[in-house]
């Protein structure tokens, strides 16, 4: 079985702070990380590799710096890593990104299963996983928290707002994973050594047989026309709660006054 995991390199937003004077992001020292949900996707693939046997290929679309994310996935156990990298991909929206990734998957040896994280923490769109499935013409099961594979059928617990569904699909298929699925493993020392030396396969637009009219800005139906920082909230009131009953009465009065309750 050949499993492909799509990963994205994102800014580690845990450290994102706002400069109160300029109202902009403070980016100093913000490191690039593997999108956390993609770590769960990778782990899901590695668990299948350990249990039923599979080759795991990780594919990432991004700038040359994304190589570090790919080496990390290899240190954790990915067999092969591919960087989909071309200036022509710049400015791709979710339509063009889905297309490019699907072309990347097509360029690999026969693939049975594609994993994506449920969404990336910088864009939060959750559109690329289903988009890749659509371009490949495969079924998609989103928000997977548990999977089993038997005889080319994948059985998935798919989380929705107040519960889960059990869904079965024939492979090949695309799955997107939620955090509850697993706890991503740490890289082993041996893995790190191997990853350090490994060659990263580069796939440019031509090698992925991507139509230049379908990628980058040209292939993106959407355009960003304005970027702005939302108005900052003025700081609210802070009261002393050492008299619990008084504090409770004041709060309830305030909420009733403001007509929120």
């Amino acid at each position: 079985m050949h499993i492909v995991v799509c990963v994205k390199q994102v800014p580690g937003t845990t450290k994102v702070q706002i400069n109160p004077e300029t109202n902009t992001l403070i980016r100093d020292g913000v490191e690039a990380i593997i999108n956390p949900f993609d770590e769960n996707a990778l782990e899901a693939a590695l668990v299948l590799k350990d249990t039923i046997g599979a080759k795991v290929t990780v594919i990432c679309m991004g700038p040359p710096q994304a190589e570090s994310a790919l080496r990390e996935t290899m240190a954790r156990g990915a067999d092969d890593v591919v960087l989909l990298c071309d200036r022509a991909f710049a400015g791709s929206d979710t339509w063009a990104t889905s297309y490019a990734l699907a072309q990347g998957v097509r360029a690999l040896d026969k693939v049975d299963l594609v994993f994506c994280g449920k969404q990336a923490i910088d864009g939060d769109t959750a559109q690329v996983g289903p988009g890749v499935a659509e371009f490949l013409g495969w079924p998609v099961i989103t928000y997977a928290r548990k999977i089993e594979i038997k005889d080319q059928v994948v059985r998935v617990e798919r989380v929705f707002e107040d519960g889960y569904e059990v869904i079965e699909a024939h492979l090949p298929a695309v799955l997107t994973t939620v955090k509850e699925m697993n706890v991503p493993r740490m890289a082993s020392l041996k893995g790190r050594m191997r990853a350090k030396k490994a060659a990263i396969k580069l796939l440019d637009a031509a090698a992925a047989k991507a139509d230049v009219n379908e990628i980058g800005l040209k292939g993106s139906p959407t355009r960003v026309v304005k970027i702005f920082t939302p108005p900052r909230k003025t700081s609210g009131v802070k009261v002393d709660g050492s008299e619990p009953l008084v504090a409770a009465r004041e709060l309830v009065a305030h909420l009733r006054n403001q007509k929120v309750i």
């Binding site: 339509w95 889905s98 289903p130 519960g163 079965e168 024939h170 709660g241 504090a247 403001q258």
Partner: protein, 406 residues
């Protein structure tokens, strides 16, 4: 299209770096011909992550940045052929989701602005009688497809039928709830009909000049807002989360036209074997008007009872921070934040939640935020409209008591 840095003019001041939402700009030492050099001059460099959004250009005081835009490509379709505002009316087990009513009220505004029809697209099985509710909430027409295969959500079948309807009727705008269902098949529809889709919009307006749908959404956890358009493809598609727009009071006198579409559908390649509701008697945090949320500061799983008691009085849902969920005090269905649910209720009461950025991005757009925490320096107070510094073990029971007194 490219972003050009005019080296002679760039002073290396770095103002543009702060404006870049994608972290694509950096300062590097270069020599006269632009080759890396340890001494000569510090200038701005653009890396490939640049999205060519142009946010940096106006910040440059030295006119050293130039965005080269190519001529806009010609529309792939005749834009004037596309008419009507569509809302995907999502039903689950025959119950229309609130987010669909919220979208109908926004859709009504957009349809009036464009002087066109508001159409609710209603897919399912044995749901015809529910269509009335869609008229009551503002729809002029209901496009109904009633088919056994559509009884339970099936990504393949829903994508097939919705894409067919779009191709046949050519709507100008399609709106859908950013639910687990909407976020699964709507992206596939957008790919199939070759148009753009903007996720989780918090603002939707019609541009006065060129009549395009202006779709505003947060990025980077709400630190930045972006307005997005879809100029040359149709329909213009967007998803919106729960509670972003206000549901209108139903007008039961309102009537409309049901257009039933026949469908030749086969069961998809994935099959739902079982559906399990894990939160049966509780209010779903994503849909709640009021949320009472607890974090590590509660001190233990048994303390969630204080929250459930208060929530009961308020008719509220109970939320939790990642810390409380990871500690195993409550199930992850309650988790609010980056890895949990994004919520925007009318009232959010954060109890014993310090306010890590992962949590704040999930709830900071709530209308009113109340924080109760014993640490006066907790970051949650920075976003709170009303903060109480004190012991929640004492304050929460008092709140419940005061509310009971009426």
């Amino acid at each position: 299209m490219s972003l050009e840095i005019i080296q002679d003019k760039c002073t290396g001041c770095g103002l543009c770096l702060k404006a870049c939402p994608f972290g694509s700009l950096s300062l590097e030492m270069r020599d006269k011909v632009g080759a890396p050099h340890p001494k000569f001059k510090r200038i701005v460099m653009v890396d490939v992550s640049c999205n060519l959004c142009g946010a940096c250009v106006p910040t440059c005081k030295f006119e050293a940045m130039k965005l080269h835009r190519p001529d806009e490509p010609q529309p792939s379709v005749n834009l004037a052929d596309f008419k009507g505002i569509w809302v995907y009316a999502e039903q689950r087990e025959g119950v229309i989701q609130d987010v669909s009513f919220e979208l109908l009220s926004k859709g009504r505004e957009l349809a009036d602005a464009r002087q066109t029809d508001l159409v609710a697209v209603f897919l399912g099985h044995n749901i015809r009688e529910k269509a009335e509710e869609l008229f009551h909430h503002g729809a002029d027409k209901v496009l109904l497809v009633d088919h056994p295969v559509l009884g339970v959500f099936d990504s393949d079948a829903y994508t097939d039928i919705f894409a067919e309807l779009v191709k046949k009727h050519k709507p100008e705008v399609v709106l859908a709830g950013g639910t687990s269902v909407g976020r699964t098949f709507i992206p596939r529809v957008a790919i199939r009909v070759k148009t753009g889709l903007t996720a989780d919009c918090t603002g939707l307006d019609i541009d006065e000049k060129d009549k395009l749908l202006l779709q505003t959404r947060p990025a980077f956890g709400g630190n930045i807002m972006a307005t997005i358009i879809c100029p040359n493809h149709r329909p213009q598609m967007a998803t919106v989360r729960h509670k972003v727009f206000k549901k209108q009071k139903p007008d039961t006198a309102r009537k409309g036209q049901i257009i039933e579409e026949a469908a030749d559908l086969k069961a998809g390649r994935s099959k739902v074997v079982d559906v399990i509701h894990e939160m049966t008697n509780e209010i779903n945090v994503a849909e709640a008007d009021i949320i009472v949320s607890g974090g590590r500061g509660l001190g233990g799983p048994e303390k969630f009872q204080l929250l459930f008691d208060l929530a009961h009085e308020l008719g509220a849902a109970v939320g939790a921070s990642r810390g409380a969920v990871d500690a195993g005090w409550i199930s992850s269905f309650h988790q609010v934040g980056q890895t949990g649910k994004t919520v925007c209720p009318k009232l959010y009461i954060a109890c014993g939640i310090s306010g890590a950025i992962q949590h704040l991005v999930g709830m900071s757009s709530s209308d009113m935020i109340v924080a109760i925490n014993k640490d006066p320096a907790a970051p949650i107070f920075d976003v709170a409209d009303y903060g109480i510094v004190g012991d929640l073990n004492e304050i929460l029971p008092m709140l419940t008591k005061v509310l009971k007194e009426g």
